[in-house]
Amino acid sequence: MSLEKLELFEVFLRSKRGLDHKHAGSLHAEDKEQALEYARDVYTRRSEGVSIWVVRSNDICASQEDDSDSFFDPSDDKPYRHATYYDIPKEVGTM
């Protein structure tokens, strides 16, 4: 069995209950069940996670880093979406 025939999976770990799953890395596996077992064996050897997600890399639709300027620029000229845009006097407490 050649490595090239294996599919690439992305691994996401939840380090603690209540936290988001975070991308940890990737691996090759035959199918999703195997990917989950591999991910456990490789990425949680020191109890790094309480939950694992594996996702076929091909199933991830990602924005392109090169296009990111034009992709994200609609929010560049909208400083009023930030709380700090508004001056609130100290006397009235945090808001």
């Binding site: 939840r14 209950r17 209540g18 988001d20 069940e33 989950l36 077992e37 456990r40 949680t44 996670g49 309480v50 939950s51 694992i52 909208k78 009023y80 979406r81 930030h82 709380a83 845009y85 508004y86 001056d87 609130i88 006097p89 006397e91 009235v92 407490g93 808001m95």
Partner: protein
């Protein structure tokens, strides 16, 4: 052994339960319901979050769906009173700010609907419960927004009260809800601050503008206090929700926080406090306040507020008028798929 829960399927049959946590959990799907419930409560008691793939009592799931969908509906219906003022905002800057706030509310509705759907209910079920009146939303949005001052009062008081509640809910026991609240609270701060800035501008303005600010404060202060719900002694869902840590603080405690934080903000504006019985209680370290008109509260909740029918009618209308967009999207998907198939057969 690898297991997964078929949580999202319509019939919600739990095939097997997630492992990869602890040895104890690896076999928990073989346990009786009473044992599962004990494990569940133990997680809650030790401040662990419940995640979508965990076993949970049916009543916990139902309670969460009720509360989270009500929260989502409030965000969406809450777009109406302010949306009504986007074309009436007195300057381009104020228009862009208000538009941005209303867009945020739409996004918050999306976060909350999506988090609710992790409990195995579909968006269409949630929407139809809202439109049929079976599901509730915050009754504050059944009050009409009449003046520009109301845009100030809503951001400052209504969003302010929502923040007090939502900050507390960042610690709710259901993981997706807690994480949604953290994200929403970050964005919500802008909402309250822009509202207070409107109030400051009006309060420092001409006598007529100051009067407009006072009038908005008078109309929105009490309904904002009602947002925290009935007194703890009257609240139908409180006890169970506290035991399950869906709610972390009681209605009355949260309301008290809001009363205390709002009093100096009213004083700074130089406006008259709408609660004539409000006094600082040195011993308790908090304000004593007047009683809320609970008859008004129940009348509005039961559908007899000023705008109840209009809010739902508008939602139904917008939903129906948007049907062509959803149809077009699904049509376009089919078209793209067909093009791909054609290209492949040609090649």
């Amino acid at each position: 052994m690898i297991h997964s829960v078929d949580l999202y399927s319509k019939n919600r049959i739990i095939k097997v339960v997630n492992i990869l946590t602890t040895g104890e959990e690896m076999t928990k799907y073989n346990k009786s319901e009473a044992e599962l419930e004990a494990i569940f409560q133990q997680k809650i008691d030790s401040e662990q979050k419940i995640e979508p793939k965990d076993w949970m009592p049916e009543a916990y799931r139902k309670n969460l769906i009720r509360q989270m969908s009500q929260h989502a509906h409030s965000e969406i219906i809450g777009m109406q009173p302010e949306g009504n003022f986007i074309t009436r905002a007195p300057s381009l800057r104020r228009k862009t700010v208000l538009l941005s706030k209303v867009q945020d509310e739409g996004g918050h509705g999306l976060y909350l609907y999506s988090a609710t759907e992790t409990l195995g209910i579909e968006r269409s079920e949630l929407i139809s419960a809202l439109q049929s009146g079976q599901a509730k939303y915050a009754s504050i949005f059944n009050y009409p927004a009449q003046t520009w001052g109301d845009m100030g009062a809503i951001g400052w008081l209504v969003d302010g009260a929502a923040i007090v509640n939502q900050v507390s809910l960042q610690r709710t026991s259901y993981g997706p809800y807690a994480r949604g609240m953290i994200r929403i609270c970050k964005e919500e701060s802008f909402h309250q601050r822009q509202g207070y800035v409107i109030m400051m501008e009006l309060a420092k303005g001409t006598p007529a503008q100051k009067q407009m600010a006072q009038d908005s404060l008078n109309r929105f202060y009490w309904p904002s206090l009602m947002m925290f719900g009935p007194h703890d002694s009257e609240s139908a869902h409180s006890a169970k929700s506290m035991k399950w840590k869906i709610k972390r603080e009681t209605n009355d405690d949260l309301r008290q926080k809001f009363i205390d934080q709002t009093a100096p903000q009213i004083a700074y504006l130089g406006l008259e406090h709408p609660d004539k019985d409000l006094v600082w209680n040195e011993e308790k370290g908090q304000h004593d306040s007047g009683e809320i008109d609970w008859e008004e509260f129940y009348a509005v909740i039961n559908g007899n507020g000023h705008s109840n029918r209009q809010r739902i009618q508008h939602h139904v209308k917008a939903h129906e008028e948007g049907a062509w967009v959803r149809d077009a999207m699904s049509e376009y998907k089919q078209k793209k798929l067909q093009r791909k198939i054609n290209a492949e057969t040609a090649a």
